[in-house]
């Protein structure tokens, strides 16, 4: 590409549209706010080949594919929760480290409050 053609491509936004040479699996997004949002989400998504790591931490090829998917969607203006929902649709709740708030998960979410309440009862009885 000649210099003039490159300038035109840049002016038309074509350069920004092309994926980076190494792919979005390893290249951060140019917009730091989008990159921060993408990273937050990556830390909450499970790598399917090395299950107890997040896709942000894993070197597995599948984690790279999923990071690229997350960055592309965020770059296109989709919300992190939207991207999480897309992956849950494919892999089920297990892909997300954050359990969804749903009628069948209320006990899980209520557990810290319940445990704190029980602790308070025990402490009160001990102090009496």
């Amino acid at each position: 590409m000649g210099l003039r053609a490159a300038a035109w491509a840049m002016a038309l936004g074509l350069v920004g549209a092309a994926p980076p040479p190494d792919g979005w699996g390893v290249t951060p997004l140019p917009d730091p706010r989008q990159e921060a949002a993408a990273r937050r989400l990556m830390h909450e998504l499970r790598c399917l080949t090395c299950q107890n790591q997040s896709i942000a931490e894993s070197n597995a090829p599948q984690a790279e594919t999923m990071r690229a998917l997350v960055r592309e969607r965020i770059r296109a203006g989709r919300s992190p929760e939207d991207v999480r929902a897309e992956l849950i649709e494919r892999y089920g709740d297990w892909v997300s480290f954050r359990p969804p708030p749903r009628p069948d998960t209320w006990l899980l979410w209520a557990m810290p409050v319940v445990a704190l309440g029980l602790g308070a009862v025990v402490v009160r009885r001990l102090l009496r």
């Binding site: 399917l48 080949t49 107890n52 599948q62 992956l87 494919r90 892999y91 297990w94």
Partner: protein, 173 residues
């Protein structure tokens, strides 16, 4: 010693036993695709040189087909090659999706282990595998005549799996 003194100790012992037993056990659950029961994802993959590739429309043809995710770098994929050949001989249509592979390596793999596939798509970046809810290779999906994913087989197809897969195909055909 009263019951209220012993109870915490009993609970602690129960917790320690539970943790001790579970921490020693490697935890690697199989993640099944949540796409079973849903239509196959929309995709269009390029094929090997001079061949047509694979797209979503190839899967909804009025009769059930198998989609096998494989790779030349995948050892269990070699193990299941004779079983795929047996299914092919039984008249089953099998399409292949080669995961993160180079066309020349795929061609060499097929030359060596046989080519049971009707069509082959090259999923170079692994995105279509994610679309299927796949977590690795080899995996095989059963797609019914309307293009709905009906079953997922994780890992290599062993000789004893062949009759089960044929039965499942008859169920959806």
């Amino acid at each position: 010693m009263t019951v209220s003194r012993i109870l915490p100790l009993v609970l602690l012992a129960a917790l320690a036993t539970f943790l001790g037993l579970n921490l020693g056990r490697p935890q690697q659950a199989t993640v099944r695709s949540a796409m079973v029961g849903k239509p196959a994802p929309a995709f269009a993959l390029p094929g090997l040189a001079g061949e047509p590739g694979l797209r979503q429309a190839d899967l909804a043809t009025g009769r059930p087909v198998l989609v096998n995710l494989f790779a030349s770098w995948c050892l269990p994929c070699r193990v299941e090659a004779p079983q795929l050949a047996a299914l092919r001989r039984a008249g089953v249509v099998i399409h292949g999706i080669a995961l993160r592979d180079r066309p020349e390596d795929v061609a060499a793999f097929l030359a060596r282990h046989g080519n049971p596939f009707g069509r082959i798509g090259l999923d170079a970046d692994g995105r279509v595998a994610v679309g299927f809810g796949s977590s690795g290779v080899p995996e095989t999906f059963l797609i019914d005549g309307q293009g709905i994913i009906r079953a997922q087989h994780i890992g290599e197809i062993r000789p004893e799996d062949v009759p089960k897969i044929l039965k499942e195909l008859r169920r959806w055909g």
